[in-house]
Symmetry: C2
Subunit: 272 residues, 2 copies
């Protein structure tokens, strides 16, 4: 039995993928309508508004925004039954692991980060296929090989591909560039359109794609940006420097350096 | 009969949409393989490698990168039969219109900009449905109401929705934000990933979407960036300022201003 704390897009989608495979689910969420919907959709066997409901689970998955995750960790850790597996899907890892260490938990613990999800929010946007073929980063925190294997099996059962990651620091500096910076850019680009009074009926697919994540759940994004502020700020600095170089090529009409930059970027993007 | 100069993704897709509707097409392209394919696919009635083949057309459409467009305008203008309609699909307008004015052409002229296309290039990536439901900006340069109507009918026949635009300056400053800036960002973001040594197997959909246009045809993008350098540089300046503000909120942990920025951006994006 897995207790899932936070039955939003992530938590509910994992439940939806796991339950048809014979895994019993306890949905823990403060919102009565979410608990009702979890039961009605058949994605949970039991629904509760209390963290104490983690006590009987074999595994507890935290699927709430990062700072909520940090806030509830002590109570979850003290409630879990000995030997039960702790999992989270937090977007940043350093701050969560620090909170976990300071609460003195002895649970086996594997931290996950599915690179999936869309700009919807809540159980209404959840789907059993959300994780299909998506990479899922797997960071063993306090776990034997067998425990990591168990966590990876759960990832595969949800349809995702586990990718082992070596440290919280590596995770957080990578996602600062691959996830947090694109979010920062989406906000900044939207704001540029606003302050320049640009007629957005003249926006094509490039603007839409580059600003799509500005539609994301604000609490989720604010939490991951604020708990990874230093690495994201460093990524923003790098980006500003790159934009400065590009701007210089444009205004000086330096066609060669512009072409080199574009060809190189195309190669990098193509290899993705 | 319409002569299409440049049978790449844009030109070939327009031909593919128009020809089944009874419009005869002359494909003008320097590349023998492209001319052969244009005929084989049945998208052109005649193929030629010479601008002189514009002479008998009722309309001439320039569908080459902006700086090539500027380069061939004098010869096209002097070749076209009197009264034939000049069209282009150039990504920037100010520089093209300036070139057109200085060549003393008397042709009726409507400048178009379909907000369509993908990261493919060439006739291999062309499709009769490329413009389906896409907005197409329509800038009357030298045209009576009847001539503009004729151009808009051609746009509709290709499946696109004409949107009238009032001036080249308005076009160029708008696309600097809605198109050219997202391209600049895609290059800069890709370069940040490279220089920071970020493992791109950790990239999710946000990074992919924000860098997709780095896959675009380099000549096409270089040409529109260089012919709209000033407006794009101004847009880059605005973006750098916005990123600086966001960075400040992050490093100072100013949750309120961060939340306001995110909520506002979400509203703007939602209205798109």
């Amino acid at each position: 039995m897995i207790a899932i704390v936070g039955f939003g897009q992530m938590g509910a989608s994992l439940a939806a993928a796991w339950r048809p495979r014979g895994i019993r689910i306890v949905a823990i969420d403060l919102r009565p309508d979410v608990r009702r919907e979890a039961l009605e959709r058949g994605w949970a066997d039991v629904a509760s508004d209390r963290l104490e409901s983690c006590a009987e689970a074999d595994a507890v998955l935290l699927a709430v925004p990062v700072r909520t995750c940090i806030g509830i960790l002590p109570e979850v850790a003290s409630t879990m039954s000995p030997g039960a597996l702790l999992l989270d899907v937090a977007s940043t890892k350093g701050a969560v692991l620090e909170a976990w260490r300071s609460c003195g938990s002895r649970s086996p613990y594997v931290s996950l980060h599915p690179l999936a999800g869309n700009e919807g929010a809540g159980i209404a946007s959840a789907s059993p296929s959300l994780f299909r073929d998506a990479p899922c980063l797997v960071l063993p925190v306090e776990a034997s090989g067998a425990v990591v294997g168990e966590a990876e099996d759960l990832v595969r059962t949800a349809g995702a591909r586990p990718i082992r990651i070596e440290s919280a620091a590596k995770h957080d500096s990578a996602v600062a560039v691959t996830i947090h910076l694109p979010h920062a850019l989406a906000y900044a680009l939207t704001q540029v359109a606003r302050e320049s009074g640009t007629d957005l009926s003249l926006a094509g697919r490039s603007f839409r794609d580059s600003t799509r994540v500005a539609l994301s759940d604000v609490t989720m994004v604010r939490d991951f940006l604020l708990t990874n502020g230093e690495a994201t700020a460093a990524a923003i600095d790098r980006l500003i420097a790159q934009l400065g170089r590009l701007r210089e090529s444009l205004t000086s009409g330096d066609e060669d350096s512009l072409s080199r930059l574009m060809e190189e970027s195309k190669e990098i993007r193509r290899a993705l």
